[in-house]
């Protein structure tokens, strides 16, 4: 089985789908001849043809609007928004149009498009290349939201997203494109080489939407995380020497509530980690869901470790980033009962 980093795995997913389904096409800024600023579409235009993977003007609203029309026609467009920070000009088309077409037309028109976008920080990208806008989409009826944490899942989830008959927001944690990142800013960068989840089948396979994975089984505390923060949570558990159960949500909407509930009922404790700001972040939804279903099993308050309620900074990135020290402290606190 070939070893792939996340970029190669996503490229393989797109390659497989272009090969299998003539209704699949890709558009976005710089995705054509050049192959994308992160190289995710590298070689796809040359292999599959100019009209299968092509450059789009710098107009995110136009890109998504056109893709909705393509979806309504019967195609399965895959759109790349170059950075999630650039997605806001397309917000009306995503929220008012893509998400609502099936409902408002009683099924006459649908928008089976996949919107891929690199997101998240830890790359010294500053405010406009680091944001985590997932909760702006998890709140919208009619959207699914997917975030992979490793090459194997990235490919299988992207294929599932493209094959899904509804619009999917597919956010790619760009900090871990080339290797898992545990959040230690001063340690050497690691690559995916040798990582078990970098073993990626060359052929078509699906990781179903709506199914979480248990990244680390444990008994002491449940950690809910996704994307880069899965690796940070694993590092934090090791750093604190705590037998945490780390759940990689993989799909935020619809979230795998059964896996979450079973884990928290078992451990009696729950820490939620995301890079996005605290207030109204997806952690708030997770916290409410856990409270509603696991209240009588909880032995400590649910704790969220997140980005601060500030814009994403540049020079102070590592003060913002919820790294393993902060997560480890939260793990210790929910075990000792010292929760503010």
């Amino acid at each position: 089985m070939p070893a792939m980093n996340m970029i190669q795995a996503l490229n393989s997913a797109l390659d497989v789908m272009l090969e299998r389904d003539p209704k699949v096409l890709i558009l976005g800024q710089d995705v054509g001849y050049f192959g994308g600023v992160f190289r995710v579409t590298d070689g796809l235009q040359k292999k599959h043809g100019l009209t299968r993977c092509f450059d789009a003007p710098i107009t995110e609203g136009g890109i998504v609007g056109a893709a909705i029309g393509m979806g309504a026609y019967g195609l399965r467009p895959v759109v790349e928004i170059q950075f999630a920070d650039y997605i806001y000009p397309a917000y009306d088309q995503i929220v008012s149009e893509a998400a609502k077409l099936r409902y408002r037309s009683a099924g006459q028109f649908t928008a089976p498009l996949t919107i891929r976008s690199p997101y998240g920080g830890g790359i010294f990208g500053g405010q406009t290349h680091s944001q985590s806008p997932e909760s702006l989409f998890t709140h919208i009826a009619g959207l699914k939201v997917v975030i992979p944490s490793n090459p194997h899942d990235a490919k299988g989830l992207l294929i599932a997203a493209i094959e899904d008959d509804d619009p999917v927001i597919f956010l790619e944690p760009k900090r871990i494109y080339n290797g898992p990142f545990e959040g230690w800013r001063d340690r050497p960068v690691s690559s995916w080489a040798g990582h078990p989840q970098a073993e990626v089948p060359a052929e078509h396979y699906v990781v179903p939407l709506g199914q979480a994975a248990i990244a680390r089984a444990g008994e002491a505390v449940t950690v809910l995380a996704y994307g880069t923060m899965v690796h940070v949570a694993l590092a934090a558990a090791a750093h604190a020497g705590i037998d945490a159960e780390v759940i990689d949500l993989r799909t935020l909407v619809p979230v795998d509530i059964d896996t979450v509930t079973a884990s928290v009922r078992k451990t009696g404790r729950c820490v939620i980690v995301h890079e996005a700001p605290l207030t109204s972040g997806f952690g708030a939804e997770l916290s409410a869901l856990v409270q509603e279903r696991c209240f009588y099993h909880l032995e400590a308050p649910i704790v969220r470790v997140t980005g601060w309620d500030t814009p994403y900074p540049h020079a102070l990135e590592w003060d913002y980033f919820p790294g393993p020290e902060r997560v480890a402290e939260a793990l210790r606190n929910v075990l000792s009962g010292e929760v503010a």
């Binding site: 056109a66 029309g69 309504a72 408002r104 619809p254």
Partner: protein, 414 residues
């Protein structure tokens, strides 16, 4: 308040456009420059865009003041096509009047008439094919009516009753009919424009022979979606007919607030390299001819055309609006380009293919058709008397409901 100018330079002043006349004043159309009927040349459809740059600044007209069809844009329609077009316009106006009254009687919450603009959708419905896809805004009911879409289904939608084809999901008049080439209407203005371009690109990508069309109002051309769509249409030569219905008014804002003091709406296509026409929207024959020209360009893989239809919103914006508060009351009656129904009628009578008696009988037929549809729709129920099952609230959010929707449906107890 900021401090006044610090230098001897002349003080700047902010310009806020105002229409020439307000309520209580006599309408003033002296600013309108209207080309004579027949005066504008009709270039071949394959003429390069750079040879067509005068077209956005004139006005393509076919019907002159005496009802004659003149000039190179005369589409030469046969009596059958003319009759069908006139009947569709009469039926559209009759339907509008009936549903306006229904709203005033409390049978529904909201209605929007297209009075004075009937020629646009009714002529275009016959040029575009039903298999093409139209991305309308909210004043193109003539497309459905001219294609014979059941009036009763429109009424079911307006009444949001149990037989509403879209299950009571949308505000009245926000129709959707895939089978009639009518895309689901959005209340967020302008969003349909890039979608139409994308649909057209998909057709071209697929080697299909269908084209798309989109409609937008003069006011909504200020939305980013309009410019995004023109960029896409130009870049990818999408087979799409992009229509601007310039009816002079965006609720209470005159077209000057959307930039009409400084240029024409058609001229906005020039910077994108799109052939752009400006057409008398109250002239059925001119609408037909211009749309046929644009559709032929699209079908010949020559790409998109922008068409501004110059017309007047004779009715209020919606049943929630009162134009007497912001424009002269008789402006519609005195509109220099007249009433599209009267103009086509005069032409057909002049041509000897129509008579006053035919007209009266067509109006009577329209009344009867609308009355029969209303009886049928009201038997199902008007707004609030009848509605779809509460279970349907949770349907069509996704192809398959997830656990949240299943649980919430149980919580509602349905």
């Amino acid at each position: 308040m900021t401090t006044p100018a610090q230098t001897n330079a002349p003080a700047l002043s902010l310009h806020v456009p105002e229409p020439p006349r307000r309520p209580g004043e006599a309408p003033d159309f002296s600013g309108l420059v209207l080309a004579e009927a027949g005066a504008v040349a009709r270039p071949p459809v394959h003429a390069p865009a750079e040879t067509l740059r005068d077209l956005p600044y004139t006005l393509i007209r076919v019907l002159d003041g005496s009802g004659r069809a003149v000039g190179p844009w005369n589409p030469g329609l046969d009596a059958q096509t003319l009759t069908a077009g006139l009947k569709a316009m009469i039926l559209t106006r009759t339907f509008d009047e009936r549903m306006y009254r229904a709203q005033r009687q409390g049978k529904t919450s909201f209605y929007m008439k297209c009075t004075g603009e009937e020629a646009i959708a009714c002529a275009q419905a016959g040029v575009l094919r039903r298999e093409d896809m139209g991305f309308p805004t909210y004043r193109q009911q003539g497309l459905l009516i001219a294609r014979g879409y059941p009036l009763v289904d429109m009424m079911h939608q307006i009444y949001s009753n149990a037989a509403d084809p879209i299950k009571g999901r949308q505000l009245p008049i926000m129709y959707s009919s895939r089978d009639y080439g009518f895309f689901t209407i959005s209340g967020n203005l302008g969003t349909q424009y890039p979608q139409a371009v994308g649909w057209a690109m998909a057709s071209a990508y697929s080697g299909d022979d269908r084209i798309a069309a989109a409609w937008i109002g003069d006011g909504a051309t200020a939305e980013g979606d309009f410019h995004q769509a023109l960029t896409f249409a130009s870049v990818y030569r999408a087979p799409v007919v992009l229509n601007i219905v310039n009816n002079q008014w965006a609720i209470s804002s005159f077209a000057g607030i959307a930039g009409a003091e400084n240029t024409t709406f058609a001229a906005k296509g020039l910077a994108y390299g799109l052939p752009s026409l400006r057409v008398d929207g109250n002239d059925f024959l001119a609408v037909h001819a211009a749309t046929a020209w644009a559709a032929e360009r699209a079908r010949s893989n020559l790409g998109a055309t922008l068409i501004e239809f110059f017309t007047y919103r004779a009715a209020q914006h919606s049943t929630s609006d009162d134009p007497a508060r912001y424009r002269p009351g008789d402006e519609a009656a005195l509109w220099p380009l007249g009433d599209p129904i009267q103009r086509l009628k005069a032409h057909m009578i002049r041509e000897g293919v129509w008579s006053e008696a035919d007209h009266q009988s067509a109006e009577h037929e329209a009344q009867e058709a609308v009355r029969a549809a209303a009886r049928e729709a009201e038997a199902v129920g008007t707004l609030g008397q009848s509605r779809v099952s509460s279970r349907t609230l949770f349907e069509d959010v996704f192809a398959q409901p997830d656990w949240r929707l299943r649980r919430q449906r149980q919580q509602l107890g349905v």
